[in-house]
């Protein structure tokens, strides 16, 4: 009798796993791609500057990202609309155009930063930037034109697995478990609550939620054809993604915390710089850091460009599904290809203001992020639209607290980018 019960449980679990594996994708992809080139640079710099002292913050940021992204799963599955179209529909053309134009501009600039990360990573192996740009563009286009969402998603999931390279790399440097546990306890470094600490604190929160993530996951849920009954699986998928994001971020901090950190902190400008320095003494770890940086940039570029293309397709009424062939959705694919090619060209322009572009991304993000988050909360509270899937009181309390905190911190971070002396 007992064995029959276990067998029943086992069969149920296998069935559940089968459904989950079919639905898994959008949540994991968006969360892992959140650790893009900019994110990896932030984590590498955090480890070099503060050692393991900020690991607790990264752990807290996992649930924060989950709470926001979970809302996009419900919104996409119930309304069958992407975020751009949902904003136009619910708030009218003014907020719609504002969001669409801001998203297009911001995504393009963020793509430039992803290309900067990729070229810097491959330069460590002696690959010239022009070859990287051409190679990456061909790779991204060939992944994109299969005419099947499923194929695109599974290929991108493979790149997500490659992003986990930081975990074995962190194990290779033999960190003390007791030190990691100490880092899990919320604390301020021995140097005190300095301007630098506040800057890194804000930068880590700033990398957790980007506007493209909201647009990407909602459109992805719609393109995949997820319905209301798939919501629990979509939520689980997002939670799995959030878990891996946090683990990769911690692994990255452990790497530079172990190999670069000295009392008082070490300043590094980019993850590529960290990889070069580490390469001298630990070639395998340095190589892993560079490969991870390239992969992070690639994942970011693939998702960000797609987020813009989906948004444009939704609003302009173009065919905009990865399940369509190039001939069936020419404008959708043309927008994707052109944004990709132009972002690559910008990186190759001699003396292009790349530092300024990176700075600009932070500033422009802060014009769109509050709007996108507020719209998300308002839409999730609309009973007519969401029915029984609207936010509960607890979801609203958490959502409201998180949205307000993200808006305040990201605004302060952008202000610190505009006025560098502000928190010194």
């Amino acid at each position: 009798m007992e064995s029959a019960w276990y067998y029943y449980k086992y069969r149920r679990f296998i069935k559940w796993l089968g459904i989950y594996l079919a639905i898994a994708g959008p949540g994991i992809i968006v969360m892992v791609a959140d650790n893009d080139a900019g994110g990896i640079t932030t984590y590498a710099a955090t480890g070099a500057k503060f050692g393991f002292n900020l690991i607790w913050l990264l752990v807290l940021l996992g649930p924060v990202a989950y709470v926001v992204q979970e809302m996009t799963v419900r919104l996409g599955a119930v309304t069958k609309r992407g975020h751009a179209e949902a904003i136009f529909d619910a708030f009218g053309p003014f907020w719609g155009w504002f969001s669409l134009i801001d998203l297009g501009f911001l995504d393009f600039l963020t793509m430039v930063t992803e290309f900067i990360g990729m070229t810097a990573a491959l330069q460590i192996f002696g690959v010239p930037p022009i070859l990287t740009i051409i190679g990456v563009s061909i790779l991204m286009i060939s992944i994109f034109v299969h005419g099947r969402y499923w194929t695109w998603e599974k290929i991108v999931l493979l790149f997500c697995v490659l992003n986990l390279i930081y975990i074995p790399a962190a194990l290779l440097v033999h960190p003390q478990i007791s030190d990691i546990f100490k880092g899990l306890i919320p604390s301020i470094p021995s140097t005190g609550f300095t301007g630098d600490f506040f800057m890194f604190f804000m930068a880590n929160i700033g990398t957790t939620i980007a506007p493209w993530m909201i647009f990407f996951q909602q459109s992805s849920v719609v393109d995949k054809g997820m319905t209301e009954k798939d919501i629990p699986f979509g939520k689980f998928d997002t939670a799995v993604g959030a878990f891996f994001t946090v683990v990769v971020a911690i692994a990255c901090v452990i790497l530079t915390g172990m190999l670069l950190f000295k009392p008082g902190g070490v300043d590094i400008e980019s993850a590529a710089e960290a990889a070069i320095v580490i390469n001298g003494s630990y070639p395998i770890v340095g190589t892993a850091l560079a490969i991870g940086l390239f992969d992070a940039g690639l994942l970011g570029a693939m998702c960000i460009s797609l987020a813009s293309s989906w948004a444009m397709g939704e609003v302009f009424g173009w065919a905009h599904s990865l399940n369509k062939k190039v001939s069936e959705a020419p404008m959708f694919y043309a927008f994707y290809f052109l944004s990709l090619i132009f972002a690559g060209i910008v990186v190759l322009i001699p003396r292009a203001p790349l530092v300024l572009i990176t700075l600009f991304v932070q500033v422009i993000a802060v014009t769109l992020l509050p709007a996108a988050l507020v719209f998300l909360l308002l839409l999730l509270n609309n009973e007519e639209m969401m029915g029984k899937y609207k936010n509960t009181l607890m979801q609203n309390i958490w959502g409201f607290l998180i949205v307000i905190s993200i808006i305040i911190v990201s605004t302060l971070y952008a202000l610190s980018a505009i006025f560098p002396e502000m928190f010194k």
Partner: protein
């Protein structure tokens, strides 16, 4: 080639160039017209916001507007101080 032929040739060449120019302008204007129509249709399609304008929605949208205006003022100030 006689001078008449040269003149005819030049005239024909000018005419072809002129037609090309007109058709190029025509193509550009037709593309612009198509975009304008598309934008007009989008504005018309979404002219009435579906979300009910409850006090909460109104306050949220007002707060967003004020926030954006403040950001624009800060950015303008930064730009002004940089230029000056």
């Amino acid at each position: 080639m006689s001078s008449d032929n040269i003149e005819n040739y030049q005239e024909t060449k000018n005419m072809v160039e002129h037609v090309d120019e007109i058709s190029e302008k025509g193509r550009i204007s037709s593309v612009l017209k198509r975009w304008r129509t598309a934008i007009h249709n989008i504005n018309k399609k979404y002219s009435k916001p579906r979300l009910k304008m409850t006090p909460l929605v109104k306050v949220s949208l007002l707060a967003l507007r004020l926030y954006l205006i403040l950001l624009v003022i800060i950015l303008s100030y930064k730009f002004y101080t940089m230029v000056m």
